[in-house]
């Protein structure tokens, strides 16, 4: 093909784009590759081995942190998604209502306020409650995670709800289906992909959180990310790479599934 004048092309843009993608993925690839290193170095390759995965698996602190992370992420995503469904039903497909701006501001607050500010605020507030009640369990982390997961669960659910046709629900109501029946038989089945997408997003967000967890956790309540943050101060072995790779795998799977779900036609 003869070289034609391409109106969309900009000189150098393609090169910078390619460089950007390489720079974006090279550190992650190296991180994954060295998790399989037989040696103790994160830069000198000494052959393939599962050694660091085995050592992470056998590490009691890692085991406990993993279970804690999963428990928190499960409850936070389950609760926040439930609350987000209710909130989305109340705020979508209605006329403007009194207090709407305030409601949106509250729901979106975790997205706008810097994490460190929320973290410090929770540290102060929960310290007061801890002193007053003496309870230092996992509930603080679950509630904190639930709160900042709400907007992440809310957005895809709301998006799905906006795209849904009201006609089916109106038809059901016309045929004397009570409101709850309309919800379970008509709304919920259509809304399902949005709910699943929201729940997965919330799960990943909770699983990945560092800052708020670091400030809210009581002694001995490390999650995987805060455990890793603590480890970074020491001499680093590929064990951290192995843990990172597993977390990375979970995130990538969830994101791909999430993207596929949001593409489902209403």
């Amino acid at each position: 093909m003869a070289k034609r004048f391409q109106i969309q092309q900009m000189p150098g843009f393609r090169t910078i784009a390619v460089v950007t993608f390489v720079l974006l993925y090279m550190p992650i690839f190296l991180l994954v590759i060295y998790s399989f290193n037989a040696g103790t170095s994160i830069a000198i390759w000494e052959g393939f081995s599962w050694r660091w995965y085995v050592s992470a698996w056998d590490n009691q602190q890692v085991q406990e942190a993993t279970i804690r992370s999963l428990v928190i992420a499960f409850w936070a995503s389950a609760i926040s998604t439930t609350l987000a469904v209710l909130a989305a039903l109340a705020t979508t497909r209605t006329r403007k209502f009194k207090g709407q701006a305030a409601v949106f501001a509250m729901i979106n607050q975790p997205l706008m306020v810097p994490e460190i500010v929320t973290a410090v605020a929770l540290l102060i507030f929960f310290a007061m409650i801890k002193v007053a009640t003496g309870y230092t369990g996992l509930m603080y982390l679950v509630i904190a995670h639930t709160a900042f997961c709400i907007p992440f669960a809310y957005l895809p659910i709301r998006a799905r709800l906006i795209g849904m046709d009201l006609a089916l629900e109106q038809a059901a109501a016309d045929l004397y289906a009570p409101p709850f029946r309309v919800f379970t038989r008509i709304t919920l089945p259509q809304l399902w992909p949005g709910i699943l997408a929201g729940a997965m997003l919330a799960f990943v967000i909770s699983l990945d959180d560092v800052v708020i967890t670091e400030f809210v956790k009581s002694a001995g309540q490390d999650t995987l990310p805060t455990y890793m943050l603590g480890q970074l101060r020491r001499v680093v072995t590929p064990e951290v790479n192995a843990i990172s790779t597993v977390l990375l795998g979970i995130s990538v799977t969830m994101v791909v599934a999430f993207t596929a779900l949001s593409k489902l036609k209403t």
Partner: protein, 309 residues
């Protein structure tokens, strides 16, 4: 209103009922948010006006000391007042690095978003997925991936020493530069996402018209493309600047405790500093700066017309 509309009283009853249902549905979410997001912020504001206790926590005695100490300090010997140079330099570093991060993200993000937006339609989603995956990946893991690359015993230094170019590892980690690199790396997707959204809708017949009128590529970029995607640039800049300013993990890992940013200064007050009111005042200050930036954004976005945000 048409004749067939129900009488007014009937409508208000239905509306009242709808309103009650709405607030019942909203209540659980709002209660949780009030308990673990909005409420604690108010308590932080109160704490910023109290006296610090000796071992962390507060004494319930109101004072303006914490707010005074955000920017000022009193000499312990002769009581003279001066600007708190330690705090000011940390604030300055935070603002400077956040601005540089924003510029860096534009430099890499603009051509990348443009590249993706000009791919054939079927390919674009795949390219965007490559941007979204890092976006949803743990910030700590991504920071750590960069650390492994640039630390003294890391990939770059090992490679350079192996080739004989250097004898001693180059100290890249624990510098302001490494924080900058880490933040650009971590926040780049936040720039590409809104840029792509505005570029995807770019009408290339306008670009073609420009070329027909003998505009150079530079001129087309500056006079046609840039004005059209400006809302995307502004949105991306805010999305990068705001979290950069409040960054905690990246400067902690990349700066190694020497190069503090506001987020680390705040943490210090709850750790070694044992000055909770000062920490609270510093957080509220950070929040105020962020809110001003967000408000400026909403204002410009409003002027640019609907469809972006």
């Amino acid at each position: 209103m048409t004749d067939s509309a129900p009488p007014a009283s009937y409508a208000t009853v239905a509306e009242k009922r709808a309103s009650r249902v709405r607030w019942m549905l909203l209540a659980p979410a709002l209660v949780v948010l009030l308990f673990a997001a909005s409420g604690p912020l108010l308590i932080t504001l109160v704490y910023s006006m109290l006296t610090p206790a000796d071992y962390g926590g507060v004494v319930w005695k109101p004072t303006g000391d914490a707010w005074f100490n955000v920017f000022m300090q009193r000499d312990i010997f002769d009581d003279t007042l001066s600007w708190s140079s330690a705090h000011l330099s940390i604030f300055w570093r935070s603002v400077k690095l956040s601005l540089m991060t924003t510029v860096g993200c534009i430099v890499f993000g603009f051509p990348t978003a443009y590249f993706i937006a000009t791919r054939p339609k079927q390919q674009r989603d795949l390219w965007m997925l490559l941007i979204i995956i890092p976006f949803w990946t743990n910030i700590l893991i991504r920071t750590f991936a960069v650390v492994e690359l640039i630390r003294n015993e890391g990939t770059i230094n090992t490679l350079l020493m192996w080739t004989g170019l250097i004898d001693e590892p180059i100290q890249i980690l624990f510098t302001e530069f490494s924080i900058l690199v880490g933040m650009i790396y971590v926040y780049l997707p936040l720039m590409v996402l809104p840029l792509y959204a505005s570029m995807e809708r770019l009408d290339f017949s306008l670009v073609e018209a420009g070329y027909d009128l003998y505009a150079t590529r530079m001129k087309v970029l500056r006079r046609i493309i840039l004005p059209l995607v400006k809302p995307g640039v502004i949105a991306g800049s805010i999305l990068v600047f705001v979290p950069s300013l409040g960054a905690y993990v990246t400067p902690r890992v990349m700066g190694g405790g020497n190069q503090l940013m506001i987020g680390n200064l705040i943490e210090l007050q709850f750790g070694q500093g044992r000055n909770w009111p000062l920490g609270a005042a510093l957080s509220i200050t950070l929040l105020a700066i962020v809110m001003v930036a967000l408000m400026a954004y909403v204002r410009t976005a409003g002027k640019e017309g609907p469809g972006h945000g």
